[in-house]
Structures are given as C-alpha cells and as structure tokens.
Symmetry: C2
Subunit: 371 residues, 2 copies
C-alpha cells in the first residue's frame, strides 16, 4: 500500500509556535521541533517519516522560517536543499503552501501536491497513507481533496467538514464531495455534528494538482497569486531570488488556505474529502498532551522529559521536565506543570486552553525573552 | 517597659531544619536563616531584635550547629563570641538549653535564663517583652515559667498548657500556676480547649533561674545533667573544651525540654505561666506561611522572593520564588509553589503538612543532595 506515488509531492508547512504549549514551545523552539510523544523523534521528523513512503525523500518540501533552517535540516538530513523554502517572515498558510505550489509547478507542470502540518500526531501511519493515496487519486480528477477526521468526541476546538455524496473515483472508494466548511462550533452544535456521522474534523490537509490550487488562489486573491508567480519565476535562480523575496514576500496577503482555497472550492463543488480512519491529534494544549502521553490509562500522570526526577502522588495531568530539578507534587490532580530553565507554568487540564493568554500577557509586558 | 533586666540572659536554640518548609528550608539553609515575613530580616535576627531590649546584646546566647556558625554570626554581628554555643550534632532541646544554662550559671550563679526558638514569628514586640518581664519576675521566685499563647483557633498542631490558679507575684499581674501539659489533641478536644479559655498553646518558651532548671534536669535525667556539668566545667577553657565536647556531647540523652523539665515541674506545682497576648506563629508549613504573608487579606496570593516574576490569576495560596524564572499560574487556587534552583514543590494549602513526607522519601531515595 505504501509504494511511492510518482506524480506526488508532499509539502510540510513548518510554522507556528504553538503558544498554548508555552513554555515548552518557544519562538526559537516551536512545537514541531519537540518530541511530544516520547517517540524519540520530533513531530516534524515523524511527519517526514509518514510521508517518505508516499513521496520519496527527494520529493518532500518544507516551508519554514529562516530562523529554523538549521534545526529543520538537522531533523531532516535527507531533505534536498532545493526543497527547503525559507520564509523571511510568516505570511500564513496560503503564502507558504502557494509558494511551494508555484515553484513546484514550474519544475513539473502536472505535479500533485499534498500539504500536511508539521506538528500533528497521527497513528498508525498506514491508515494515513491509505487516505493520502485515495486523495491523490481524487486530485488527479481536478478536485481539491482534503482528508477529514472522523470525530472521536464533540470537540469545539476544530472546524468541521460536511461530507455530501460519494464520488466515483478509481482507487478512492471512500471519496465524497464536500457540502460545506464549518467554523469551530459551540458545544450544542458540536454534539449534533458528532451524532451526525457526516461531519468530519478539518485537519488542514489539502491534496490537489498544483495548478488547480494556484487557479483557486488566483480566482479569490489575484494579487496574492501574482506575488506568488513573481516569487516562483525567480526562485530557482540563486542570484535573483533574494531581491524578489525581499520585495514581494512581506507584501503578500495573510490568509489561511481554508479561506482562500477550501471554502470557495467547496461552494463550487470542487472540494472533495476522504475520511481518515487514523488517530489524529493536533496537540493543541497541555490537556491534549497529557492525554496523548498517559498511554491510554485514565489514572496516570503523564511525564515528558528525559531526565525527569518526579516525586508525585498525582494520578492525572502532566509534568514536562526540561531541567534536572527534583519536582515534587502533593495532593494535586489534573495538574499541568511545565518546568523549563527560564519559565515555569502551573495550571490544570481544565484551564490548559488559557495558556495562550499568558503568552499574550508576556508579550504586552515586554517579557519577550521567555517567549 | 522595655528596659534591660540586669539578671536576665536570653538563650536562642537555633536548630531544626523545618522539613515542612522544604525545598525553601534546607539542611544548609534552615528555616531560622530565612526572611519568611518580608521584614528584610531572617527569623533569627527578628528573634534577636525582640530580645535585645530585654537582655542587652552582651547577654544573648545562641546554641546552633557547627555548620551554621558563619551564617549565625553574619545575621547577629553583635553577638559575643563566648555566647555562641556550637553543637557538634543535634541532641534535642534539653541538651542545647541545658548546656547554655550550665555554662552561664558558672559565669553568674543567680542568672535567670529564658529560651526562645529562633524561627517563630511574634508581633508586636512590646507585648512579647511585657510577657517576658512578668515571666522573669515569676522565675525570681523559683518557678519555671512558660509563656502560653491565647489560642486564635482550635489548632491540633500544638500542645496545650492548662492554666490553673493565679499566682501573687510582684510585677507579674497575669502569672498563674500550670495544672498540666497536654500533647497535641484531636480536633474535638482542641475545640473544647478553644472554648475553655484556660488552655493556652505551648510555644516552647521557658524562663527560670539557671540553677532551678538544672536541678529539674538533674532530678529527671541525672546522666544528662552530669554530662552537661562536665561540659560546662571545661567550656570556658579553650584548650579543654574540644576533647570534652567530642567525648561527652554525642552521648547526651536526646529529650525535649517539655518532657525533661516542663511536664515534671508542672506535676510538682513548680511550673507557672504568663499568658501572651501577642500574635504568635511557628510557621509550621506553607499554609501558615501563606496566611502570614497574605497581609490579612483573604483573597490574596502570597508572594515571597525578592526577584519574583509572577503572572497569576490565583487569589489564594503562596509562591516562593528563589530563581529569576517567570512563574505563571492559571486557574489554580490555594496553590503552593516553591521554586528553587534544584527543586520544585507544587501542592495546596490543604496538603501542606504532607511536605515532610516528601523529605522523608527523598532521604530514603538517596536524594540528600536536595535536602
């Protein structure tokens, strides 16, 4: 099932700090560079390892910030230099994925690209790969294809994709058209979606011909598209790239690919979906991270950190230990303790979503040194 | 009221680590060396400052471990060298106070000594001083006199002193005899004591003629008394002190002065008490420390640490910050966070008494490095 697909290129946008995982995730050590599952590998490397059987190591591109170049190349020693796309500053996902699409389509006009976040946890790989294989088959028919996750709970933390009629595509028995995209719902709505099995979680995975993707960007954001074309035209010429990037990149419209491509494509009936049957977690906060690392046991304190020295009677929650300090927990439940050399967080699973507020407060308070 | 008392000598036993305040209190930085009230002074120094108006700086003795000599002398620059009594190892309070009594009575046969713990918080000083002045007057009559604290709640953490008939002593209008000493009671008993105003907290303060104290030790623990006499006889001779200490001190019976002196004296009707009207706190755990530092406000997170950088929505509990790390608390109440360079404690006020268990576990686990 996992043989390489010759016309496929994987694109990994590796941006985003993961503010809800502060102080573990930082500007200079974002979420995708961490081993959050105890696998021994960073999330980025796990993403690469999932995609490599599908695309081959010569055909995986990474779009990341200039500051992360060395770290990314250390994580991915097999990535070809020409497949590392460096952003001078973050311009959101349409710019990141669109740049890769625009450059790759010049190298290979019929290329199909699939974009996959660098910081999600997916298990097992073969179910993910089966979904991508189907999505590629659908993309060959001119659709923009997403992979939707069958919800495991009525989450209010994700957007939803409403699946409609099945699509008849060879090699994609589960393909369906998408009726519409839905923003993060309230709890009542989420419960209704959860009961109605045709609503899937939007995991931000998009597979399509590069030219189809670019045409959709052009239709909805022509200036952004023009900028991407100008960048792509100069990209593979080392002398010309720099000045064009400096001039064009900072002016690109910041817009998520969900809005610039997926939503309008859904309205036109051009968006398809493959339901993913794998476990998927975007590790959105420490409550997710605790769950992910409690090994399925309900009464288990999750511990992350190679040299953790923990003395605890807690049977739930998580301790992240990045120092060699002895950490002692007494009589606290569902606790979240993140111990790093310059910052300490203490909260509970219930309040884990509020961590971003601390990051915002630290920014406002001029304490960027610990962000 | 606070003029010096010519026949009075204050003795400060400065021992005890304060295990329930780990990891703030350590073997090499015991509780009495910390500023736990934000006064800018250590508890030991505050104790000295309370006693100095009564005894004068030439007549305050400190009994402490050899390891703490430098720290104690740094805290108390005015203490005469001959008034620093160094223990080669801890032998409990009868040995510590008895040694001081035995040495001082040789220097001054009619001396009255008062012993006061180095790590209690007492406010305001003048009410404490008034109680001591009365106790000295009672001690001159041959009594062993304690100062009992009027309970502010039905505590199960302290022993109680049952006050009996008033004593007619000039200069001590509140003096009374003691009917008996009571061990830490259960909650029901503590409530009954609290309702019955004649039960006072035992704060471990004893004032008596040195010869009377030594006679009581002799009556109940003759071997211990003999050892103290031998030590005292050699003490002020620099050449002889060392060998005698090495031989005699480690063999002294370990017994608290409450059992060797106060209880038997009470049975013989020789124990008197002065009720203390001052606020008294032995800062027994982090819950006490939180209360002590919340400045009387109920909804207030107490913060201890000069360079504390705290970002918190907690309205109760305490943060002790000994590092320059940013500490962020979200959605936790009655929390206790103690952040030191090599150890971190997270618990709640409710479980503060259990901190000692961690210290015991660390000892057993061979982690003495953080104790």
């Amino acid at each position: 099932m996992s043989q390489e697909i010759s016309d496929f290129y994987a694109v990994i946008p590796a941006g985003g700090i993961g503010s809800r995982l502060w102080p573990l995730s930082r500007a200079d050590a974002p979420k995708f560079l961490h081993d959050l599952t105890g696998s021994g590998h960073s999330l980025l490397r796990d993403t690469w390892d999932r995609l490599e059987p599908l695309a081959g190591s010569e055909r995986i591109a990474v779009v990341t910030g200039r500051a992360h170049r060395a770290a990314v190349e250390a994580q991915l020693p097999a990535v070809p230099d020409r497949n590392v796309f460096l952003e001078s500053e973050p311009r959101d996902s349409t710019a990141a994925i669109g740049l890769a699409a625009a450059v790759l389509v010049r190298r290979e006009p019929d290329v199909i690209i699939g974009s996959f976040a660098a910081d999600h946890v997916i298990r097992p790989p073969h179910l993910f790969q089966w979904a991508v294989q189907q999505a590629v088959a659908v993309a060959r028919q001119g659709y923009i294809c997403t992979i939707g996750i069958q919800p495991s709970e009525p989450s209010i933390g994700f957007g939803y994709i409403k699946k409609a009629d099945g699509l008849l595509v060879d090699g994609a028995p589960e393909a369906a058209t998408v009726e519409r995209f839905v923003e993060k719902p309230d709890l009542e709505t989420a419960r209704a979606y959860f009961a109605d099995r045709s609503y899937l979680w939007n995991a931000g995975m998009f597979i399509s011909r590069a030219d189809v993707l670019l045409a959709e960007i052009e239709a909805n954001n022509p200036e952004l598209h023009a900028g991407l074309m100008e960048l792509a035209e100069a990209w593979d010429d080392r002398d010309r790239r720099g000045p064009v990037v400096d001039r064009v990149w900072p002016a690109l419209t910041k817009i998520a690919i969900d809005y610039s491509v997926a939503e309008p494509a859904a309205e036109k009936g051009k968006l398809a979906v493959i339901p993913g049957h794998f476990d998927w977690d975007d590790v959105g906060d420490f409550a997710s991270l605790a769950k992910l690392n409690s090994h399925g046991r309900k009464n288990d304190l999750a511990i992350l950190g190679e040299n953790a020295r923990i003395l605890s009677d807690a049977s739930s929650g998580i301790v992240v230990s990045q120092t060699s300090r002895v950490i002692s927990l007494i009589g606290v439940q569902d606790i979240v303790v993140v111990d790093t050399p310059d910052a300490l967080l203490v909260t509970t699973s219930e309040h884990a979503q509020r961590v971003k507020g601390v990051v915002d407060a630290l920014k406002l308070g001029g304490r960027g040194d610990v962000l």
